[in-house]
Amino acid sequence: MIPGYALLRLLWTRTRLLIVAGLFGLVAVIFASVLVLGSTAGRDELIGGLGLALANPLAHPVLAIWPMLPGCAVAAHLTSLLQLPRSWVLPGLQRRVAAPVVILGLLASLPLPLLMAGPVGPRLFVFLLGLAGYAIPFLLLEPTLSPGSAALPIFAVAAVVLLNPPVLAQLLAVRPSTGAVLALLAGGILARQFRPETARRRLGTLAPIGMEGRMRWFAARTAEHSKGARDWTGGPRRTLRFWLRAIDYETFGLHRHGAWWMFFRSAFLMLFLYGLFLGLIDREAGGVGFSFAYVVVLLLTLMYRPRVAGAWDCRPVPRNQRIRIAWTSSLGVAARLLLAIVAAAGVSEALLALIHPPLDFGKVGAELGAMVTAALVALPGMQWIDLRHVYRDPKGPRMLGRPGMRALAMLVAILSAVIGLSFLRPGRLPLLWPLPVRYAVVLGVAVLAQALFYRNLTRYFLHEDLV
């Protein structure tokens, strides 16, 4: 077998390849459209923003986030494979996948140092930072480690270093030593992955189905104490409200404070990490981080989709009632998304105002308006993806599989973020209609999309097989 072939087979299917290519293609088109069609200010902002981050040593730790993304994808797939008892008996599996995992890490860490100008030292440092960023997800997703022993110390150290500019500056002043520590960290994490002892310990750590990838330690202690659990007594109440509560409970009851806690925790965490770290560089860069935060909030919302299929097949719910349940629950998620965005923007601005006072209410309002507009644009796409699992149409979205759907969600998120940005900075991006017209178009499209979505649900629930 060709070395690395096993890992490639694990990571890549034709559909995924096409989707990733499409994703990069879209980003390229967006960049190209700004560079070719956009105004001078837009071009300067795009080029200047990247240059600013690359030139500012304080921004370098944030750059480690980018290799972290492929690291997350590889680690998630690899862990899911190596955790299976079956993987233990596949001859030489660990050996076959080890080298490609390391090579992918090196490749993922290379682009940013190559883009940088200047002496080799800082570029090597950014490369090692990237490598550590690539390796850290392997530790975070490692099933043999509890969050207390893996994730929390890493986040604590990152927070102390990144939120404390003097400490960060001191570490950057001794780059060779810090770089050596980062190299050791990355090497140690990756080497640990492929030790037979780790592999042995992994067997038997399979998470209960449906609880994979979450904080199992936390979830296991809170599920039975969740607020919703107390309400399920008494006779049947087959109203729409009852079923919506039931969906909510099945989907989010695992968490003590239900859906709200999930959304706010995720949104705040991302904004805190990204917005604030960028805010260290300058206020403007921190504000730009809102589009990234928006994309993250949208994606997180999609990950925690309501549960209306599967076990729901056996609930005593008539088909015609399922239409309303599916649509309303989808709107409910959308409403949470909007609230999460509003709250996230507020927190982000408050944090930035601490670093760069005073608080600029005008700017907050503009950003909020842009994000809510972006959410309205994304809403139909999000609902459609969100309820994808109720469809069994072979030509429908289910054919893309889970990673495909996530990539599709990312596309929707990025597209809507671009539109949102065009509202925030009129004239700097290539959507040049007057602002009121743009608002009217967005609102009209959103209403029309809802009507079509409802019609589609009606067709499905009345005329299609449900399993």
Binding site: P318, R319, N320
Partner: protein
């Protein structure tokens, strides 16, 4: 409440179901009387699960119509759906809940939930209420599915491979329970299973499917009376390689001893004994022995 009183629990009227180029059900006409205990048997992929999914309206027929408890299966209302209990072949529960949580939650969907029965079944089937569902072995998931299917005293219970993952003791307990339910509550029970010995103990009617077609639909007693196994010993002379009698469906052996599978041959016994001067020991057939015949196999 709608539904049959002494009528049919469900009816299939010329139901055909196609999945692209595959015909899963082929012009099925069926009428299962209310209160019957039916064994749904057939090979893998013969259409058993597809048929059961039509009964609850999860699948819609490509042609024909399906009526369940007096309503079109495609448009069952909440009240009628709550009168049906289902054990799916692959139970789909909420993995993060504990067994007790799941029971309390799902019981709130039904107006006839029987806590006493729930306690009894949980005890008899040795289910741990504090166990998390995501960690339960397949057998215990099946037990939980059975508890959930019966505790609301349904009028129609559809059991798709209900005991396949149970250990012998749990299977025995479950079969005893099914017999008891059939006697007391009198719901219509449809048991789809490959374990024909278990089916035979419980059911009073058999529906046999092969390649989406109903190849047999009869009372079990009537079916077993029509068929028999003869152990033939010829004391004088030999038995031919192929006995010419039309009611001999299968012959194993020749010469002095043979085993015959016969159909509708009760009245032919004396004449056969005389013709071949043979001793014939008549044995009842089991459903398992009969199964290949019911699906039209040699």
């Amino acid at each position: 409440m709608t539904g049959p009183v002494g009528g049919y629990a469900f009816e299939f009227r010329g139901v055909t179901k196609r999945f692209k180029h595959t015909v899963a059900l082929d012009r099925v006409d069926l009428a299962v009387p209310a209160g019957a205990v039916v064994g749904l048997i057939g090979r893998n992929g013969s259409g058993k699960s597809t048929l059961l999914r039509h009964v609850v309206g999860l699948y819609l027929p490509s042609e024909g119509a399906c009526v369940t408890l007096g309503q079109a299966a495609a448009a069952l209302d909440a009240g009628t759906l709550a009168r049906i209990g289902v054990v799916q072949q692959e139970a789909d529960f909420i993995p993060w809940m504990r067994v007790g949580q799941q029971l309390r939650y799902l019981s709130s969907f039904y107006d006839r939930w029987d806590r006493v029965l729930e306690d009894r079944l949980v005890r008899d089937l040795e289910l741990d209420r504090t166990a998390r569902i995501g960690t339960l072995p397949p057998g215990n998931l099946q037990k939980l599915a059975l508890v959930l299917a019966f505790c609301h005293h349904p009028d129609l219970v559809l059991l798709d491979e209900p005991v396949s993952a149970l250990d012998p003791l749990a299977r025995e307990a479950m079969l005893r329970f099914l017999l008891e339910v059939a006697r007391t509550d009198g719901p219509t029970l449809v048991v789809s299973s490959h374990v024909l010995r278990d089916v035979e103990r419980v059911v009073d009617r058999v529906i046999c499917l092969e390649q989406g077609r109903v190849t047999e639909h009869a009372e079990l007693d009537e079916l077993l009376e029509r068929w028999a196994e003869w152990k033939v010993t010829a004391h004088h002379g030999t038995l031919p390689q192929h006995l010419p009698e039309p009611w001999v469906v299968q012959q194993e052996g020749a010469g002095r001893e043979a085993r015959l599978l016969v159909r509708d041959a009760a009245g032919e016994l004396q004449a056969f004994r005389s013709a071949y001067r043979a001793e014939v020991e008549v044995r009842p057939v089991t459903l398992e022995r009969l199964f290949p015949r019911l699906i039209g196999r040699p």
